[in-house]
Amino acid sequence: MRKDYSKYEDEELIKIVQKGDRNAFNELVVRYESKILNFINGYMNNFEMSQDLAQDTFYKIWKNADKYQPIAKFKTWAYTIAKNCALTEYRKIKRRKTYAFSQLSRDDHEFTLERLQGEENRELSNDSETVQQIRWAISQLPGDFREIIILKDIQEHSYDEISSITGLALGTVKSRINRGRQKIKEIIEQNRRDS
């Protein structure tokens, strides 16, 4: 008979996964797929890409389950893997963009910059100040703030939980949430002024 894993703690489940149990692994996928997807999307701001990276995250969790140490919460470990996947891809894209941009002539640079900025602003003004604009502003935050804002405002974790996930002191979490939100306001206002 198939075991009911829904009442197990995450840490108990990953221990069972370490023995190669796929059903226990699937229970963890059910619990975290949406959270990991939204977390990654905060970095990428692209659904398709974020979904691929979420799949990659779970694949790595399965492959490296034996490396999990019970000293950390499963949640912390899973988010760390997700963050590494997202950052690696984010840097790749950035490098590709920089390389492609450096191959253009000076005239092309100016044209492309204007065109890109115009497109971005148009996209934002179409959806004025709502979903797209806020998502975009979050993706523009410096890394340290972005991670905390995603965990708080999108994943709805408490300050204590964020502190345990990130390993940051409670005071640091508190100030980063506040400053991160202020920065989002600034980014949105700056974008409105520019357009």
Partner: protein, 163 residues
């Protein structure tokens, strides 16, 4: 808490993460200072907007694709192990008459040789110190050791003569 550090506590107030005491003084400032109210309202609106962002959900194929990826990984893992096994330990190695016979013969020869050596005269197997070993021994003794050695011999001679 006062007007100067009010702004630092706005988010914690909205998120219900302030202590009772701080919450009370925050609310007092909120009532008495219109500028504080403005800061709070602005931040509160933003937080409402962010938390009302629709949550993304994985599509229907997500788990199917993930499980397929893991299946492929498991298969490739198993096939590497079985390839290695096949290479090092072919399943029917003893079933092949030529290989089986060769292994059996080799085993018989080794056993016969070992038992013959253990029952015959051991003189051939006893190691005696050779000249070359003496050379190695003396070359490892430095000059002071040699002098000490010669003195010891002299003293021993004396004892023998006295006896």
């Amino acid at each position: 808490m006062d007007r100067n550090n009010f702004e630092e506590h706005v988010s914690a107030y909205i998120d219900n993460e302030l202590s009772k005491e701080d919450r009370k003084s925050f609310e007092e400032l909120l009532e008495s200072d219109s500028e504080c109210r403005e800061i709070y309202n602005g931040m509160n609106q933003l937080v409402q907007k962010i938390s009302s962002l629709p949550k993304l959900e994985t599509d229907a194929n997500f788990r199917v694709k993930l499980n397929r990826q893991i299946d492929n990984y498991e298969k490739s893992n198993i096939s590497i192990v079985s390839k290695l096994k096949r290479l090092l330990l072919p399943d029917n190695i003893l079933a092949k008459p030529a290989i089986g016979l060769s292994i059996s013969c080799a085993a018989v020869v080794i056993i016969f040789y070992m038992s013959f050596n253990s029952t015959s005269d051991n003189s051939g197997l006893v190691l005696t110190p050779s000249d070359s070993e003496d050379e190695i021994y003396y070359s490892n003794i430095d000059s002071t050791d040699t002098e000490q050695y010669e003195n010891d011999i002299e003293l021993t001679k004396g004892v023998d003569e006295r006896e």
